[in-house]
């Protein structure tokens, strides 16, 4: 658990972070978003003390990080940056082994861990273990960057616009892999981006920052349906609002569980905008749904996409945002 209590950081007369308080729960995927200079990267870099806080307290699992040695604190966290920063004179294996090496893991354990991580990030260990960073593409380099950050099994992963410099296809596949890794490991992730689509896609919760202040911290659904300020509404954008709205819920959320229908089924965790696309492509208004084990889980109707039926779902509707 990461806990910010009225944390302030000034650079000269400029207040980069202004009395920010928030909590990131254990295992949560928290996205920090905001325009340039909003203080989002500064907040991230205060978590591993790359930037010291001027006022307030930052606690991890209740321990004030100011009381820890910075190096020991950092070795417990993964850190990924946009420009990757792989050591150009070290092989992929040695890059990934950096923190386990610092922590004094036995050689065999490090070796196994490198293999495991390369496979996790879809890099063939036999081919890439001994490669040098300059022999890799930009996307492969960032895969190694993520593997390096995960190497010592950190409970917290800090990511500063890690995919911003990549082409859209590579970015999308790394986003998918990161989501899967997060689900599997339960690592707490703090992820800085300026791309709202990425934030909506990855975050359990999204913290919007502007001028060093925290404007809103909410679930993707609430960010879409209940923006706290015009800035949040602008960050989301009006274009394809409906599709973004669909994208934050899954087929399983809205399927009619008692019904059944024939056809190629959709997985329950498919986002709703994919389901809509699927209906258009197949020319049908009803799709069968299956759960994670492949058992029938009901039917999704086209009308369900506009009128949410599942209990507990808060619906702001497009009108809440499309008021122009």
């Amino acid at each position: 658990m990461i806990d910010f209590e009225r944390v302030t950081k000034r650079f000269g007369s400029w207040t980069a972070v202004d009395a920010v308080s928030f909590t990131v729960a254990e295992g949560e995927f928290r996205v920090l978003i905001g325009p340039s200079g909003s203080g989002k990267s500064t907040v991230l870099r205060m978590i591993n003390r790359l930037i010291p806080a001027d006022e307030g307290a930052i606690r991890i699992d209740g321990v004030d990080i100011a009381s820890l040695k910075p190096e020991e604190l950092r070795r417990r966290m993964g850190y990924v940056i946009q420009s990757v920063g792989l050591f150009p004179h070290w092989t992929v294996e040695r890059n990934i082994a950096t923190v386990p090496g610092l922590l004094g893991w036995p050689r065999a354990r490090i070796r196994d861990r490198v293999t495991e991580l390369l496979e996790l990030l879809n890099l063939d260990p036999r081919r890439y273990r001994g490669a040098y960073p300059h022999q890799l593409s930009g996307g492969q380099q960032q895969r190694v960057g993520v593997a390096r950050a995960l190497a010592a099994e950190p409970r917290i992963l800090l990511m500063d616009e890690p995919f911003s410099a990549l082409d859209p296809i590579t970015r999308a596949s790394l986003q998918t892999e990161l989501s899967a890794i997060h689900r599997r490991t339960g690592t707490t992730v703090v992820f800085v981006t300026h791309d709202m689509d990425e934030a909506l896609r990855l975050g359990d919760s999204i913290a919007v920052m502007d001028h060093g202040r925290l404007i809103q911290c909410a679930t993707p659904l609430d960010i879409l349906t209940r923006p706290a300020s015009p800035l949040v509404r602008d960050l989301v954008g009006r274009e394809e609002w409906g599709l973004k709205r669909l994208a934050v819920e899954t087929v399983g959320d809205r399927a009619r569980r008692q019904e059944s229908v024939t056809g190629e089924p959709l997985a329950a965790e498919t986002p709703l905008h994919r389901a809509l696309s699927e209906m258009v492509a197949r020319g049908t208004e009803r799709l069968p749904v299956v759960d994670g084990d492949g058992r029938p889980a009901g039917v999704l109707h086209l009308s369900d996409l506009v009128r949410p039926t599942s209990a507990g779902t808060v619906s702001g509707g497009p009108a809440a945002s499309g008021t122009a």
Partner: protein, 394 residues
Amino acid sequence: MTSRPLLHNRVALLMVLAAAVAAVALPFLGFAPNRLLSGRPVPLWAAAQGFDGAIALLPGLALLATPFLRPTRTGLGLTVVAGGLFTAGLVWLAGAQAAALAQGASAAARTSFASGFWVMAAAGLLTAIDAARRLGLGAIGRMAVGGAVAALVALQLASGHLDALSILKEYANRREIFADAVLRHAMLVAAALVPTLLIGIPLGVAAHRVQAVGRAVFPVLNVVQTVPSIALFGLLMAPLAALGAMLPGSGISGVGPLPAVIALTFYSLLPIVRNTAVGLDGVPAPVREAARGMGLTPGQIFLRVDLPLALPVFLSGLRITVVQAVGLAAVAALIGAGGLGAIMFQGLFANALDLVLLGAVPVILLAVAADALLSIGIAAATHSIGVLPGRSAP
């Protein structure tokens, strides 16, 4: 059919033409009754008579063809071999001719290399080096070519084949002081290198970290570089002599090795400080940021990241420093520091050119050897950081 260009290697053509003109028009050797008289010229055709002489000059005939060879691996390889063997053959010919001239002459008679020899030997070597570069040989490959030619000459030296040449007679007269002079020369350079590195590396690190340090240090070191070496030696004499007078028994003196080492240190600082700073400046900021973010301590970042990544540029500075210091140390003989410069100046003052050569040739060989060794180091350091594998830094 399109006409193919006949000429493929302009450098080789220039060298071959120079060698041909030198072979015909310039004296190959000079033969004098003693070391003080100027000799009569011995042309190449007179030296190359007989079966042995013709064999020795065969690589020269091959060399004539090299400008017209296509730049394939074979063509360039042949050019390297022809250039190298031609040079070694000229030395052999000079030795043989000197031995022939020595028979029936007095012991004081001297046979020296003359202008024709130098032009042809240089042309052969340069052709070989240029072709080796075109072949894409790395630092080690080029050093092997140079080493092979040097080995052919060394073989002749060891066999006594060259003993009748004047330069070896000068060597025979000074056998004891020659070894001392080489050692002394190398010691001067090494002694200057210790304070240079002890001061220069921290100063370079400081200049990299604090801009103000660089702004203060570099103008001073640049000015020092522009002071002529003789002037700097002279400038150091007065204060050191005064210091020596104040501290009797300290061994400090205005002449001798101490001012030489101090002056060499001054000259050596600029390349070391500058290249240390530039090398560290070249370490990418994200690499340092990542290292810090992963929990490397400042000391670990310096040793594991900064040092290896800045090493090739630093070694380039060290190469400049060492080569420069080997040359400058020769001048230091003027203030009594000894070394190979002392032999050169003895020869100059006695008007004995071969004695000058006896001092100058080892200075050149020392500089070339230091340059070659450090080039290999630079190539290895560059290779190990994964930048442009297999290519050495310029």
